[in-house]
């Protein structure tokens, strides 16, 4: 029985360490990405990084983006367009970036971002608030 308990403890430590590492990596990537530039537009818009092998993109992220209504969403294949993906430090799919009309990254979401979260970020972008959120 003791081997099982020790194994559980080891897995607990590994999972906790992985979660901390992921938080750190996302925070660092976000800090590096905020302010990165792309094409200007008349309204805030979303850069949506995806790939053919991204299941969550199809099952979760695309339905969430569809709920946003008349918002410009620029879909980018993160593997085909590596230069742009690297500029926004895309290390996971999906990644969504809320861009200001001037073409600057205001909010970066690594991983699935819900529709209400994106709506809130877009509202902030329209209101000129430049607050970084997770």
């Amino acid at each position: 029985m003791s081997a099982q308990i020790w194994a559980l403890a080891v897995v607990g430590v590994v999972v906790l360490a992985a979660a901390c590492l992921e938080l750190f990596r996302a925070r660092r990537a976000r800090v590096k990405t905020l302010g990165a530039s792309a094409t200007p537009a008349s309204d805030p818009y979303i850069l949506y990084f995806t790939g053919e092998g991204c299941t969550v993109c199809r099952t979760h992220q695309e339905p969430a983006l569809a709920k946003l209504g008349a918002v410009r969403v620029d879909k980018v294949d993160a593997i085909a367009d590596r230069t742009l993906a690297d500029r926004f430090n895309v290390y996971t799919l999906p990644t969504t970036v809320v861009m200001s009309p001037e073409g600057r990254a205001l909010h970066v979401n690594y991983g699935y971002a819900t529709a209400p979260k994106l709506e809130r970020q877009l509202a902030e972008a329209r209101g000129g608030l430049q607050v970084a959120t997770a």
Binding site: M1, A3, Q4, W6, A7, L8, V10, V11, V14, V15, G51, E52, G53, C54, T55, V56, R58, T59, H60, D77, A78, I79, A80, R82, A85, Y91, T92, L93, G111, Y112
Partner: protein, 147 residues
């Protein structure tokens, strides 16, 4: 590479099978040590299923038993099977390593097997597939042709 239709119910059944087998081996081995044999057997099942999908035990159980009887409803999604196969193969490799440790250092062997079950659970419950993310990273670096 074009997308195909992937039945996500088959993937979910596969993940459930992995979690259940590891848990039975993990808990069972506390009372009956030969239950650990389930871990190398699961490694074989996963690796066989990666290279020959018609030998994927849990998926075949879904396609031949659960789906025809309406026990589990199909969930077809436009997707690519390669990242999922890659993730399954990775799980199989981890279980092979776990099997190698089971007798000399059972804590490491059990921990690795449990980690595979945890990742399968994360995929099942939250849709986050670590193996698929590794596949994407390898594709991005040009190690494998991912797009």
């Amino acid at each position: 590479m074009a997308t195909q239709v992937v039945d996500h119910s088959a993937l979910k059944v596969n993940q459930t099978g992995i979690i259940a087998t590891v848990l039975v081996a993990f808990i069972g081995s506390a009372f009956y040590r030969p239950a650990l044999l389930l871990i190398p057997l699961l490694a074989i099942v996963l690796l066989l299923g990666t290279f020959a999908p018609n030998l994927a035990l849990f998926k075949q159980f879904y396609f031949k038993v659960l789906k025809p009887r309406g026990i589990v409803k199909p969930r077809p999604v436009q997707d690519r099977p390669e990242p999922h196969n890659f993730a399954q193969g990775l799980g199989g490799v981890f279980l092979v390593v776990a099997s190698a440790f089971l007798l000399p250092v059972p804590v490491i062997g059990l921990a690795l097997a449990l980690l595979v079950a945890v990742l399968a659970f994360v995929n099942l419950a939250f849709g986050y597939c670590l193996g698929c993310q590794i596949y994407f990273q390898l594709g991005k670096r040009g190690v494998i042709r991912a797009s």
